[in-house]
Symmetry: C2
Subunit: 372 residues, 2 copies
């Protein structure tokens, strides 16, 4: 692990760049808003830890009432359990032989659940659980619209649920019904409609399974873009929002009922960068490129400055162009960038530098950075 880019107590302008910086006041407001919304909506929260990969943040979420966290890999789940979280759902299929063993070992140390969409995989999970004397909760992942992993809703899900329930070391633990693509539908009504369509498929599948005499103890899913909608259906027991803690430029493009940008969560995370070159009046180069931020969902945005546009990233350089009316930034000036996509951006850093006002208050290790 790399050295931290800051010391506790120093002013923000002395933080080494590039660095991931977190406005703790804003971050805490985001945490509280989702916790309040969960209570209002009558659903449990199981925030997704793939966003922050940081057990310190996961424990904050638990302290505000979350029942556990979601992870996307076994390595993340290990980091969370070893960091003090006792209830983890791996919202993914685990197939590699060594990873199946790691998962089953972890299930002897904490409450661990995993998803499956294939009977052969369920048998492999059962064999490993038997070998370790463990019992593993397994949810059937249902394709509710994302067309990624998952069996089709209805009968295929029932068949797999029955197969899992018949295996002695597995417990059929419900349905994973997450519609990833729906999170970023910009229009409010269309986004709600996609979420409710997913909920309808999940609900019909749950009814079919329970009608066949198999208890379906939970339906889990939803994200930062849709968590307000799935609970309307009465089908979802848990919501899995992750990005709400930090937000990013991509989520910032989602629209609310009135057609304005969504505002329920605020941007708490930035990449702090330094201008390293000012070759001419129209552009400058900052020291945050592809190895400090992810451009998969678009370029980062210069915070609070519409006259400056981050237009291109190479390995260690970011190019910012200025509107003609602007004076631009000179070498040594600091720039705050809103990441295009927070999850893969956080995964490029070893430390989250938490600040309050203008001073560094916390240095949190991204313990599951690179944890497959």
């Amino acid at each position: 692990m790399m050295r931290p880019p800051a010391e506790i107590g120093i002013p923000l302008e002395e933080v080494e760049s590039p660095a991931l910086i977190l406005d703790l006041d804003t971050f805490e407001r985001n945490l509280k808003r989702l916790a309040d919304a969960g209570r209002r909506l009558g659903v449990r929260l199981r925030p997704h830890a793939k966003t922050h990969k940081c057990p310190v943040i996961a424990r904050r979420q638990m302290a505000l009432g979350a029942v556990g966290v979601c992870c996307q890999t076994v390595g993340e789940a290990e980091a969370m359990v070893f960091g003090g979280i006792d209830d983890v759902l791996v919202t993914n299929e685990v197939v590699d032989r060594v990873k199946v063993n790691r998962l089953v070992s972890l299930a002897k140390q904490a409450r661990v659940a995993v998803c499956a969409d294939d009977a052969g995989n369920a048998e492999a999970l059962n064999a490993a659980a038997a070998a370790f004397g463990a019992r593993l909760d397994v949810l059937v992942e249902v394709n509710v619209g994302a067309n990624r992993c998952g069996v089709e809703p209805g009968r295929p899900a029932l068949v797999l649920a029955e197969a899992i329930a018949a295996l002695p070391n597995l417990n059929f633990a419900g349905l994973q019904a997450y519609h990833g693509a729906a999170q970023h539908i910009r229009d409010f009504t269309e986004r709600r409609s996609a979420a409710l369509s997913a909920a309808k498929k999940a609900g019909a599948t749950k009814a079919l399974i329970e009608g066949a005499g198999l208890p379906c103890e939970r339906v889990t899913g939803a994200g930062t873009g849709t968590y307000r909608f799935e609970p309307e259906s009465g089908v979802y027991d848990e919501i899995q929002a992750g990005s709400y803690v930090f937000m990013d430029a991509d989520y910032g493009h989602n629209l609310d009922e009135g057609g304005g940008a969504v505002s329920e969560f605020e941007q708490s995370l930035h990449i702090l960068a330094t201008v390293v070159s000012r070759p001419d009046r129209a552009r400058c180069i900052v020291n945050a490129g592809l190895k400090a931020l992810s451009v998969d969902s678009g370029m980062p945005v210069v915070d609070g400055d519409e006259g400056a546009r981050y237009v291109g990233a190479s390995d260690e350089h970011g190019k910012i162009e200025f509107a003609e009316s602007r004076r631009g930034f000179d070498p040594g000036e600091r720039v705050r960038l809103v990441p295009g996509h927070c999850d893969p951006t956080v995964n490029l850093h070893d430390w989250i530098v938490g600040y309050r006002g203008n001073h560094v208050e916390a240095l949190w290790p991204v313990a599951a950075r690179g944890a497959f």
Copy 2:
């Protein structure tokens, strides 16, 4: 740092995925080919370590005659010096106060040079060097066509070179003249022409500086896409190719004289992935997404299988679609992916798994992973 995804001696099929795997025979051929070309072309090699971030590989390059390595960040330079490399050029501007101090400290432990394109930055470097009792080699970065960092060729470069030479703790050490954008011009003639245009600008600037009585001890630049061309000019003393050790899908699109794909270097690096889901006949999902590979320069390519296309990446998932005629891959099957862009992909991993034939022979730490 994460645990390695393999043990020495195991067969490749037992390596945990996703993992960076390196075919050592192919890798060694690539190393030797550039070393041979350098001798044939009469230029020194200073390979770019930003590609591999691995001192083990840097020492292999030195053993074949490289005079040192290039780095893009101070953190990379530290990892290289502490890993046994005694000559490092930081091909970038270093501006952050703490990073300037780290650079100057390093210059007391090894031969370290850095680039500058601003007189104020040169003064800051000089002040730090004076405070530590160090002398620092500084190259003037010249914009030879990339329009990123760098002063303009000719007089602006001379003015900065003279300013550097006048500072007591700095040594004006030559010109950094790298044309990044030229590396990926597909057409052979156009690529050569861009490289020679860069060389012409560098040559004229060198002549101007030497005409003013200032020795210009080296001109350094070039990359995997253009290293054959710059030496034609007689201007370049050093070439900085980096990607040639691994190659990637983006470089694989460059064309040679005959219009075929370039073939002087071979793909030695892959991402080993496992199929975790096969929801239908037309597609499968692998466990290598945005956190295992970088998509900034396009999607990865399924190695040796034109009927299978990697079409989309989310955090931990990659979607592969099959041509109708193909049987596709089933859960548990392994897939080798050619990364779209090798440098930021390597930076997502803690280990390079080296194999020969079908067995793991080496586990090399990516020591400068995340090193800003």
